[in-house]
């Protein structure tokens, strides 16, 4: 592939540095009664990665769940094929808990809108915050992240591809041409 010759947007080392910085910010804001919720697919391994960092910085474990937002999408009547629905696994009660949503790329904001609807169907969290590895701009809804790894200027034709083990073969972020 031609793209693999170009330098990645983030190497594994840089991803780790950004995740560590986000972990420090989350710990500084307080991790009492706070849990992470990764948005499928890439948000889940990122949330686990982030949880490890939080545990080593904050000296206490945080719970991690995973959220599938496909049933809450606003474009189901527009897509030609139904996305595959995977299970949502939230091994803790949402009521009264501080939730940090973890996702790979913040783009239109529609995924996050869907994720918030999904969470609220499970209960009433104390708050919902948003952690994103990449913010690529192009928002279509009034949504901003509380914790951002890297802000990237992109064109509409570009695609930000986040690869995280074990969903992918390696840990890397690339800016691709074309969708």
């Amino acid at each position: 592939m031609a793209q693999s010759k170009t330098r990645p947007l983030l190497t594994e080392k840089e991803m780790d540095a950004e995740i560590t910085r986000i972990a420090r910010e989350i710990v500084a804001d307080g991790i009492e009664n706070v849990a992470l919720l990764g948005i499928r697919t890439r948000g889940v391994p990122l949330a686990k990665w982030l949880a490890q960092k939080i545990e080593s910085i904050g000296h206490r474990p945080v719970e991690v769940g995973s959220l599938d937002i496909n049933l809450y999408r606003d474009d189901l009547s527009e897509v030609s094929e139904q996305p595959i629905v995977r299970p949502t696994e939230i091994p803790f009660a949402i009521d009264g808990k501080g939730i940090v949503l973890v996702d790979d790329v913040l783009y239109t904001g529609r995924t996050i809108r869907a994720a918030m609807d999904a969470i609220i169907d499970y209960g009433r969290p104390k708050f919902i915050r948003l952690a994103e590895l990449i913010d690529r701009g192009w928002r279509e809804l009034p949504i901003q992240a509380d914790y951002v790894g890297r802000r990237v200027k992109t064109t509409a034709e570009q695609n930000v591809k986040v690869m995280v083990k074990p969903a992918d073969e390696r840990n890397e972020v690339r800016l691709m041409k074309g969708r």
Partner: protein, 311 residues
Amino acid sequence: MRLSARHILSVNDLTKKDVTLILQTAASFREISERPIKKVPTLRGRTVINCFFEDSTRTRLSFELAEKRLSADSTNISKSGSAMAKKGETLLDTVRNLEAMRPDILVIRHNQAGAAAQVARETSAHVINAGDGMHEHPTQALLDLMTINEAKGRTKGLKVGIVGDILHSRVARSDMLLFRKMGMEVTIGGPPTLIPMCLAETFDVKVCHDIREALPKLDVLMLLRVQRERQGEQLFPSSREYARYFGIQSRDLESAKDDLVVMHPGPVNRGVEISAELADGPRSIILNQVTNGVAVRMAILYLLLGEGLKQ
């Protein structure tokens, strides 16, 4: 991903890939029924009409709950409450009237084989066959397969015994088709008068009138209800005699594998085809079938409407 079929009329409409996709989606949907608020907004604004021209409790409720948990607008027509049927309107006229109200999905239960297929030719909505006469009941077969897969962790290579009134059973027909499609071995048992001729050749199954002979090798035993309403008294003398020769009790299973599971599509006639202690015992996964029924129907509704705009 989408299904290759526009309607679910027969197991034959589905490819192996479709079946796998339905089971995978259903497994994800099961969690929704475990939530405190059992509802997702996915099919908001979609209209489903459940047309039950033949009585049903379990299947109808299962479809209704599946529709409601996906936020579809669902409404029902029943045999007794249907002015259309009572006043002499034909099925096709009824369907044309329903069509004029723009439903997205029609769920059809009817006592005539082929009714759902006939409806499908007259409507632009998707049609799901919820049982047509003695023909097929594909969603039941799918929930049976899901329950077997869940209990055993696999389906391919499993040996399934189906015992009872095969002649009148649309569940048996759909089960045989689906289980064979997915690489399972099927052995049929029951009174010779209730087993159609040429069954072994037609469905590529084994026939063994006394299932007890095949029992030691089975992984799954499916017992079917004797359908008195479809047959009168000619085919076997009495329920007591049926129970004695073909009914299964726990002590019949002494030669069976330790992990043999027992299934029944309901309604159960305790003491006839299955004893009460077997139906309630540790081998029984009868109620898992009911739980999975809602999830399988949610998956089918979701996947059918995935075609987006209607053609």
